[in-house]
Symmetry: C2
Subunit: 311 residues, 2 copies
């Protein structure tokens, strides 16, 4: 994969995604002693950066593959992203979801005409059901984070950010499945002189932090974090990129995530999901390291249940 | 007042305000059958359009007047706007507030170094206290909505919107004290070919609606509306402008305001205060009238207590 590949990916997905705005706040900058540029993927179509990876993955299929449809198992933003990207490209989307998934998530998929296939609420059942659809329909399987086309699609958020602010010293993203930070790391490597990439991760699901230390993919025994989008693990496609290119991972406590989220709601006046507050929480935690630096933060999404806020 | 005056006002306030972004949503457009352009004054400095009027009012004072300071009585956004504009212009701001005003509002003023003068919680006490400060300090009194310089300053939000989208058929704003809609009406009159201006007003505080019918300024006996920024009356400076230039006022129920607010939070992913949802509620209520039209909506502000949401 070289720079030219990413340029082509960006051109390819442009018609299907928003070029999201970058917001700043004098008050937040004064508070932190750094200049922060928030790339607002919460304003992306369907409300999250996942649209970029999903669009690129479907666009990368052959005409024949597209006719057989796509399948994924996700109950989160990727389910909606695949549904919407597929709808726009006139491709059938099969979304495997646990039968007890919240109605609001099912409705999100239905809005974009994704076909929901219910299964038991275990990882095994989800995989088995997705495999069955793959067999029966010949549908192409799309992984939420551990697939090259998805990672390359995700990189376009940071490419846009660096196009507008080439003087960034650091970009911070949340780290869950690893697809966003891997894409961001590739973008920084190819589209900046010396911009570092740092991950923010909940202490309660710090598998990526531990994976970097041990040198192999670690998992979590539990996911007691408010950052629901980050309750997942790295994969074999994104882990090597993360190992190679990212500077480090800063871990944050639950209270720090909620405080950072509230600050962004109050000061930037934008709605972000808990996972998206993790990079800003990381910056606040290690303020001194970012002093007088130009810092990009990727606000990954804004899909949050207004009836169930953490504050 | 002519077009040249407003151009000069805009040039004058530009260094002190943000040029706020304009957001759109395909989903909302599809739902309404019109193309809606949301001018996001919730992203304005201190979180509301009031910054524009306050900045222009202070900039319009002589050097001598500025040295004696400014005074206003407000417990809402205008108090913060005057404090911040005065701080930026190195002018002393005296803010008269009822002693029982919420601490969060007092803190907002203190953040921007406004000096709070407490008084009893009656309109009489507020006016008497402001008058006392005027006498004692020689401070210039600034009215939140009923003063020419404030109205002209407010007009700059619609001027920017029309610069970017000259093909707008209609602009809708909330109507409370009347300062925003009067400024918007002047902007539409001078900066568009044929853009109409419509007001959205809570049924529970429909003094402006009744004033247009009776031809004189009416008041409300009560203000049982969630739209806290609209619990006020028209004044003798803005009412004639409203009479002359605005198309009509659409009144909305409380439930319609809350539903419109929730839709904007969920779909646009931005934080707006209840008053700012009133124009969108008006559009939703009379959808057919706006069908296939290009509609600008001024999102007046985003200062809301996250611990006390109406949904």
């Amino acid at each position: 994969m070289n720079k030219e590949t990413l340029i082509q990916v960006h051109e390819k997905v442009k018609p299907y995604v928003h070029r999201t705005p970058v917001l700043t706040s004098e008050l937040i900058n004064d508070m932190c002693g750094s200049k922060i540029f928030f790339k607002c993927e919460n304003f992306q179509k369907m409300g999250a950066f996942k649209m970029r990876g999903a669009a690129n993955a479907i666009l990368s299929l052959s005409e024949e593959e597209r006719q057989r449809g796509v399948v994924t198992h996700s109950s989160g933003n990727f389910a909606q992203a695949v549904s919407l990207a597929a709808q726009k490209l006139d491709v059938k989307a099969y979304i495997v979801m646990p039968e007890n998934a919240p109605q609001v998530k099912k409705n999100g998929v239905k809005t974009y005409e994704g076909e929901i296939i219910e299964c038991e609420s275990t990882p095994q059942a989800r995989e088995a059901t997705a495999n069955r659809i793959k067999e029966e329909k010949g549908a192409a399987f799309l992984h939420p984070s551990n697939q090259d086309e998805v990672i390359y699609g995700n990189s376009t958020a940071a490419i846009e950010l660096l196009e507008e602010f080439p003087e960034l010293d650091i970009i911070i993203t949340p780290i869950g499945g690893g697809g966003l930070i891997a894409g961001t790391a590739l973008a920084a490597h190819h589209f900046s002189k010396n911009c570092k990439v740092i991950g923010g991760e909940p202490m309660e699901a710090d598998d990526a932090y531990r994976s970097l230390i041990s040198g192999k993919i670690e998992t979590n025994d539990s996911f007691h974090t408010v950052a629901d989008g980050l309750r997942t693990h790295l994969g074999d496609r994104n882990f090597p990129i993360i190992q190679k290119y990212i500077e480090k991972i800063i871990r944050v406590e639950e209270e720090e995530i909620v405080n950072a989220m509230r600050l962004i709601w109050e000061r930037l006046k934008i709605i972000i999901e808990p996972s998206s507050a993790v990079p800003f929480a990381a910056l606040l935690k290690e303020k001194n390291e970012f002093k007088n630096k130009n810092v990009g933060i990727i606000i990954s999404g804004g899909n949050v249940d207004l009836k169930n806020l953490p504050f």
